[in-house]
Symmetry: C2
Subunit: 205 residues, 2 copies
DNA sequence: ATTAAAACAGGACAATCGACCTGTTTGGAG
DNA sequence: CTCCAAACAGGTCGATTGTCCTGTTTTAAT
């Protein structure tokens, strides 16, 4: 009698769930977000949820691999490869983040950092997945520094450790910004990193 | 009949609870630690727990104000004031942390950062307390840089933003170290920060 | 000694968590 | 068309969460 026909679209359902989970995990954290809450936000029944993600940790893994990794790729790796050299890319990335946060008003922090802090002690597989995202980020940055060295744009650089410093400074600045709800830490780090890189790139050229 | 006499020692009981809570919060996180678990670790009855900390958030606030703030003071602020200048202090602090972690084997992360990431979105009062600890840390570092400038040990320095970079680099390096379970990120940041500060301090003197 | 408040014991409470169950519907392979 | 697995609906389950309650003991002030 109820003429409503159901149309199965597993990919879309799964995407809705992962999207809602990503938003909630970033905004409130992994543990603080309940499965019931995600069902409502994604408009998904308990059966569908259990079918796609039998356990919460599998949803967490999906969020890390599908969304967190992509967020890092979009905001860091791609701009890095699109710009001429590392310093201009880094400065542009910081500028984008700062203006985004200034527009939004509140600081919810770095998605990767947020999940890594909370989840790492409890689940080895998720920890390794998060570590892999960090590694990919670091390696892309390190490769760009190395390319700049090869092109004689910079000298006296240790690409690996310098990349670590940039990643750490960004993550840490985001953490402070989240705790203080201010953009100031990001501006400070942008300024200091720009000055540091400028001195290393000035010698060449 | 039971001749066992009880001796009230509220300060010691409270200290046992806060100590157990600090350890657990740092190791597994605030949300992942249950009140029941803390009662057992501190050997405290439900009544005593409720008497000293009617709600979990008050215990969280006590941990932040009594233990986290003190941890930052011990590992950062005091060495900073004891050393001659900022660069040697920072390098010494990193060395201490690195050898501690190498000895311990596992990396549980920066206590301040751990709590800040997890708790900030949920509780405004705890967020402000954590932000205050960050501010105290930053200000002590900034004051040391300023002192070095006044003593003509360094020139061309912006104490405020440089302090932010150091705090962010340390927090971020700890985060990466926690996610990857390696000390490498800390070694990298130590090396880069030492080089950066050396160049700024070389011009003077 | 009396008394009131602080300190503590032990258990109960509703609420919520994540996981799971049985049944129904859809959609593609044969 | 037949058939079966995938996709989905809706509800239930035990366990655990944080909080609170009643009663008892200790402590200190008067």
């Amino acid at each position: 009698m109820t003429g409503n026909r159901r149309t199965n679209d597993p990919q879309a359902v799964r995407r809705r769930i992962v999207d809602a989970a990503y938003d909630a995990f970033v905004a409130q954290g992994y543990l603080a977000t309940g499965m019931m809450e995600l069902r409502e936000k994604a408009s998904v029944s308990g059966g569908a949820m259990a079918h796609h993600f039998p356990a919460k940790r599998e949803l967490g893994l999906a969020v890390i691999r599908d969304r967190v990794a992509d967020a890092v790729r979009q905001t860091w790796i791609e701009p890095l490869q699109a710009c001429a050299d590392a310093p201009t890319a880094i400065d542009l990335i910081f500028e984008n983040i700062i203006s985004d946060l200034s527009r939004k008003g509140s600081v919810s922090g770095c998605p990767l950092n947020n999940m890594a802090m909370e989840v790492s002690p409890h689940d080895e597989e998720m920890r390794e997945a998060l570590s892999g995202v960090f590694t990919g980020w670091h390696d892309a940055l390190s490769a760009k520094f190395q390319a700049d060295v090869d092109l004689k744009r910079a000298i006296g650089i240790d690409p690996g450790s310098l990349a670590t410093l940039v990643v750490a400074a960004y993550s840490g600045a985001m953490a402070i910004a989240k705790a203080s709800q201010e953009v100031r830490p990001l501006r400070d780090c942008r300024q200091e990193l720009a000055a540091l890189l400028a001195s290393k790139y000035a010698l060449a050229g």
